[in-house]
């Protein structure tokens, strides 16, 4: 169970960071 949780948390952290990176790129470069 701990392994599953650790794997899921690693994946969720990665997705969250990727989402923030995309959000940053969109806000930094608004479409004209």
């Amino acid at each position: 169970m701990r392994l599953l949780l650790a794997k899921a948390f690693a994946a969720a952290t990665g997705v969250l960071i990727l989402a923030l990176a995309i959000l940053f790129s969109l806000t930094q470069n608004p479409s004209p």
Partner: protein
């Protein structure tokens, strides 16, 4: 519950550390954007580098922060999140080069700027350390050499990445962002100093001496250590410690082993270690009086963290060591709760702790089931692997529903198989505990 709340708190601290560079990028005033793909690439580079920095915190063995989870799972998480970070760092140059192939010209050494050299060194060091960690055994890399190179390459990779970020300097022109990266660098250097200097120095001040090395069945040895000039470790039965023997704590040559002695025993501590590699083969050479150092205790694998009306222990091979610590402790406490031990081993003659388990069966309400892979011809007991059918035969249904706790220790495939089988038998995952060995 207290462990759960502490776990939530430290999970929040981890997320805050790893997300801060992204949040600062989002909130701080910055120069104009470099286009969607350029900025995505840059932000993934920032995030990957921050994640690499936080890896040093994860693996610094801060006991307060790791206790709620068990440090074995922290190392497992380190391995998983490292793959995510490597993915982001690989994506950083890949996106830039895919979007603007003319950037390849910068890889001609005549035109390569200094900050790009830092980036390339960081990238190559990261690839090397990832490959060595994923395929250490396949590449025949000795554990001690791997540990040393892992530390060197990780330090080189992160230092070069920070130089690369400062060298490019576009987003770090913002004073807030620049301050953040100076803070990250300073914290990282402080952690390096703590792990490589302060901690080994504190271990030097609490030495142990080898009292005895006892041969056990199955090519195992019990190393008996006595604290030298201090009170020794207080541990929960089932926990482990990092052992340094034949070297100074500064030498980065330490190995994790489960404590096999009773937590009620004072004045000495036992580790039962199977001969599996170069270091473990040398245990028997430790003469009485040899100096040893222990970093510990660590681990969440303990009956004392899972109160229950009864326990089922499932051990594979030398995975019996932490379980012996728990059974011996229960015997010393004159515990009367029912216990079932399912112990898988290769053959009967080499079964580690064969005689002592039989004696403990008389002192405790303990039922032992030995499962042999290579049983003698007249063997009447269980044989083969620990399967769902075997567990069903030996764990009465009422014990599944009566709140018993299940503790498994052995090779990773066995742990995963037994966890699935127990769950199918109706045991909630929250009542199944395991200790991982052999992570790298």
């Amino acid at each position: 519950m207290i462990y759960f709340l502490r776990g939530l708190f430290w999970t929040g601290v981890y997320l805050a550390l790893v997300l801060t560079p992204m949040i600062v990028l989002l909130l701080a005033p910055l120069p104009p954007g470099n286009g969607f793909w350029g900025d995505l690439s840059a932000s993934l580079g920032f995030a990957g580098t921050a994640m690499m920095g936080v890896m040093f915190v994860l693996t610094a063995r801060f006991r307060r922060a790791t206790t709620p989870f068990g440090i074995d799972v922290i190392y497992y998480f380190h391995r998983q999140i490292a793959l995510v970070a490597v993915g982001f760092i690989l994506a950083h140059p890949a996106i830039l080069l895919a979007e603007d192939p003319t950037l390849w010209r910068l890889f001609n050494p005549r035109f390569t700027p200094g900050h790009l050299w830092s980036g390339i060194i960081s990238f190559l060091a990261l690839l090397l350390l990832t490959a060595a960690s994923l395929w250490r055994k396949e590449l025949n890399i000795h554990y001690d050499e791997w540990r040393l190179w892992h530390a060197v390459l990780a330090t080189l990779s992160l230092a070069s990445a920070i130089l690369h970020i400062e060298g490019v300097g576009y987003y770090t022109r913002s004073s807030f962002n620049n301050f953040l990266w100076i803070l990250i660098t300073a914290s990282w250097i402080a952690i390096l100093l703590y792990v490589r200097l302060v901690k080994p120095f504190s271990l030097m001040k609490r030495p142990y001496r080898v009292k005895q090395v006892i041969p056990e069945r199955g090519d195992a040895w019990t190393l008996v250590l006595s604290p030298d000039g201090h009170a020794g470790l207080r541990f929960l039965p089932g926990q482990f410690a990092w052992l340094t023997l034949f070297h100074s704590p500064f030498a980065l040559k330490e190995h994790p082993f489960s404590i096999s002695s009773s937590a009620s025993l004072s004045g000495e501590i036992h580790f039962t270690i199977k001969e599996l590699g170069d270091f473990t083969r040398r245990i028997k050479e430790a003469s009485p009086g040899t100096v040893a150092h222990l970093d510990g205790p660590y681990g969440a694998f303990s009956i004392d963290r899972a109160p229950a009306p009864g326990y089922v222990f499932i051990a594979g091979g030398i995975g019996i060591a932490p379980i012996m610590s728990m059974i011996r402790t229960l015997a010393d406490r004159k515990d009367e709760r029912p216990l079932i031990l399912i112990y898988a081993y290769k053959n009967w003659e080499r079964l580690t702790f064969k005689e002592e388990l039989s004696d403990l069966g008389k002192k405790l309400n303990l039922t032992s089931i030995v499962v042999l892979q290579e049983p003698p011809t007249d063997w009447q007991g269980e044989r083969g692997m620990v399967t769902e059918e075997l567990l069903r035969r030996h764990i009465p249904e009422e014990e599944v529903s009566n709140g018993w706790e299940y503790l498994i220790c052995g090779p990773v495939p066995m742990i995963q198989g037994v966890e699935k089988s127990l769950h199918r038998l109706g045991v909630p995952l929250s009542r199944i505990h395991s200790e991982l060995f052999d992570l790298v």
